[in-house]
Structures are given as C-alpha cells and as structure tokens.
Amino acid sequence: MPAITRTIDARGSFCPGPLMELIRGIKEGQVGDVLAVLSADKGSKTDIPKWVEKAGHQLVGVFPRDGYDEIIVVKMK
C-alpha cells in the first residue's frame, strides 16, 4: 500500500460531495500524490472508482471501515 499523501475526510458530505472533494484534491495535488477519501455515502464506492477510471488516475482500492469507506487514489497526470 503506498503512503497516503493527503486524507480527505468527506464523511459529513453526501453524494456528489465526496467525489467533488476528491476532484478538488486531485486538482490541487501533484502527480504521484496518494489521496485517501473517507466517505459514509454508499454511492461513493461506485461513483469514485468510475470517475478515477475515466479521468485516468489509479484506484488503489476501496476499503470498508467502521461505518464508512476509505477510497485510495493515486494522481497519475
């Protein structure tokens, strides 16, 4: 597992908030950054991987945690 550069805690946010917060994190970050999004919205675990694929970044994985998911993404470009 790569070391996480930045954690985006979007647990208080609802669809599409976590995705929008990840997009902002990707825009602000550097290539190679590893972003972890924490989301309690069940839509995130499908929406975020689909966006990551379309946008050409790398999905490290979706990890169920206690009452939320941790979605880890590497900025590729």
Binding site: G12, S13, F14, C15, P16, G17, L19, M20, I23, I26, K27, D47, K50, W51, K54, A55, G56
Partner: protein, 385 residues
C-alpha cells in the same frame, strides 16, 4: 430587549423574518423584542425567473420588488451591506459605519457566482444566473442559426440543480420550433456519473435526453475554455467544440461568512445542522437557503420550507422555551417544478429520507410552474403557502 438580526432579504431572510415577527408579536408590541433585516439593496429579486428571461417571455423588471413591501410591518429593514460578523461579541458591522448587536442571528446570505474562476468564461460562456447574463444568452439564441451548443456545469454545488437540464430541454424544443434542429447538435455535460445528482431524477431525465437527441457526457468537469479553437475541455480529458457555450458558473457562499470564520474557504458553505438549522453548533446562529452546506437543492423552495423551522427555533430561544410543533425540526422538504420542454413539466418533491418520484411530464406541472412564478409575490414571502 431581545434582538433578532436577519442578514439577507432573499426568500429565506424575508420569509423567516416575517414568520419570526408573527411568533413574537406580543414581545415586539411590548418592546421586549425586535426583528431587523439587513439587505444590501433593499430590493427583493425573484431569481428563479432569470431562466425565463433567457428562454423567452420574462422581463427583468418584473422580477424585482422593494423588500419593504414584502416584509411584515413589525420587521425593521436596514439597507446596508454587512461587512463583518463578530460571533463572540454578537454583533455585525455595516458599511454605513453602524454596528448591530444581536441575540439571535439568521444567516440568509445566499451564494455568489464566480465566473472569473475559469479563464475566458466571461467572454466565451453564457449563463442564466443574473438578469443581465440571461438577456445576453437570449440575444445569442436569437442570433443562432445552427451549429453546436454545449451546456455544462462548471462547479458544484450550484443554484437550482435542474436548471441546466431544463435549459437543454427548452433550447431543443425551441430549435425544433424555429426549424433549426436539423442544423444543430446539442451536448449536455454533467460533472458526475449520471445526468442528475438524484438517481430517480436522472432515471427520468436520461431517456428524455436520448429522445431529444441531446448527447450526454458524464464526468465532465469543466477545466478550461480555449477561445481560439472554441473548445471546452474537461478535467477528465474530454474536449468539445462549441458554437454556443452555456455553463453554470462556479458558486461559493458569501465572503462575509468565510471572513467571520463561520464557513470554510473556498466553498464558504455554512456548516448547518440538518434538523435544527443551527450553524456550527451555536445555539443562537441559524442558516437557511443557499448559504448552508446541507445536501439539498440550492433553491428558493428549500429556503421556503426551512424558514418556518428557523422561525420556531428563534422564537423559542427568545421566549425561553423549547422548539415545539411540526416546525421544531427540518426534515429536508423541497418541492420544485422541472421543465422538460414542449410545454410539459414534472414535479420534484422530496426530503432527507424520501427521494423524489417525479410523475410523467405533462402540461399541468409546466402550467403549475408558470402560475407559481406569477403568484410568488403574494404567497411565498408573506408565508401564505
């Protein structure tokens, strides 16, 4: 004397001030309470009408009325711009040099549009989030003789979530009526993985897009406009050529609430309790309407249904009692009309726990929207509906 201060004279500020003043009429009459609205212009603007300036028929003058005429006679109106909020000191500074102390503060500060956050937006993209922009879009549509129209969203959240889809549907209808449809291509760009945030609405709208031949592009987050090539580019790497570009501009909450430390930058959305509408856990600061961070439509309808809850919460604080009755807690109620073109519309009605189940589009809901827009002045701000 208990002082209730309401910042903003839009739907939320006007209606909540009126409802608070009714609940506190005895205290106001006895000189034990006062309700004051501070508004920068003293003019109440019916923003949902802007889209109809662009789509024909509506005039900017009809969308503005003096705020004083919409407020209950017991409410004070101060026309000035709030420049700073001192939360610890419980006061608000105004640009006229005055400082207002408060016991209860209602933040109905709305949101701003920030087209300047995207290079070349001002000269290349049209929108319908101000009367002037909507008029300019109308002129561009009148001059349009065929070509490619791209409609997209350059930042979330934004006011009136159905509006860009409605505009796509209405433009498509108009092009058919004008005999230009065969000479035109229409693209609709959504920042997320479907046509609309709420799944049930997306399921209703997507077949209409298909039926009307409007090409849907999902995960299209506007990144750049290339004016030389007439290209709009997404963060995801997609490019679309346009002859007419219509984009929802980026939005943010009021700078005032960011500067006061009440809302985080850069969004500026006030962290608001979904049921009590208290801001940041403070017992005497409330927010409603576009200013909040609630996962709901930024729409007049949301403010309309939040206002009775703010009024009950504030009145209860002033009267030293617990909030009671059906307006003690907000359950996320929103109700809005949705135009699909060809004189048809549908209705979105939902709350936190019940997503909308839009009925099949028909003429009744389209007419409902028109009638609601015309009768707004006599109904919503005065708390008659």
């Amino acid at each position: 004397m208990k002082r209730v201060l309401v910042l903003g004279g839009g739907v939320g500020g006007t209606l909540s001030a009126n409802l608070i003043s009714r609940k506190l009429k005895k205290e106001i009459a006895a000189g034990q309470a006062e309700v004051t609205v501070v508004d920068a212009t003293g003019q109440h603007v019916y923003q949902p009408g802007f889209m109809y300036i662009a789509m024909g028929g509506e005039s900017a003058q009809k969308l503005v009325r003096p705020e004083r005429g919409l407020l209950d006679g017991r409410v004070n109106l101060v026309v000035a711009t709030a420049t700073a909020i001192d939360v610890d000191g419980r006061s608000v500074a105004l640009d006229n040099g005055d400082r207002f102390g408060y016991d209860q503060l209602v933040l109905a500060t709305g949101c701003r549009i920030l087209p300047e956050r995207i290079d070349h937006f001002a000269e290349e993209a049209h929108h319908f989030y101000s009367a002037a922009a909507a008029k300019k879009l109308r002129k561009a549509l009148d001059a349009f003789t065929g070509g490619t129209i791209v409609i997209g969203i350059a930042g979330m959240p934004y006011k009136c979530p159905p509006a860009p889809l409605e505009v796509a549907f209405l433009i498509e209808s108009e092009l058919r009526e004008r005999g230009l449809r065969e000479k035109s291509a229409l693209h609709y760009c959504s920042p997320i993985g479907r046509a609309f945030t709420i799944e049930s609405v997306s399921e209703m709208a997507t077949p209409i897009l298909e039926e009307k031949g409007i090409e849907l592009h999902t995960f299209f987050n506007v990144e750049e406009i290339d004016p030389a090539e007439k290209l709009v580019k997404s963060l995801e790497g997609e490019e679309l050529k346009y002859d007419l570009l219509i984009l929802v501009p980026p939005h943010a909450g009021a700078q005032l609430v960011i500067d006061a430390g009440l809302a985080p930058a850069p969004g500026g959305w006030l962290p608001t309790d979904r049921h009590t509408l208290k801001v940041g856990g403070r017992d005497n600061v409330f927010a409603l309407g576009d200013a909040t961070d609630l996962p709901l439509s930024k729409a007049g309808s949301t403010a309309h249904f939040e206002a009775p809850v703010v009024a009950e919460q504030v009145a209860a604080n002033v009267q030293g009692r617990k909030p009671a009755g059906k307006h003690a807690s907000y359950e996320g109620k929103v109700m809005c009309f949705f135009e699909v073109g060809d004189g048809k519309g549908t209705l979105l009605q939902f709350d936190y726990d019940h997503p909308p189940k839009p009925p099949k589009p028909n003429r009744v809901w389209h007419l409902g929207k028109i009638v609601f827009n015309k009768t707004y002045w006599q109904t919503v701000p005065k708390g008659r509906v």
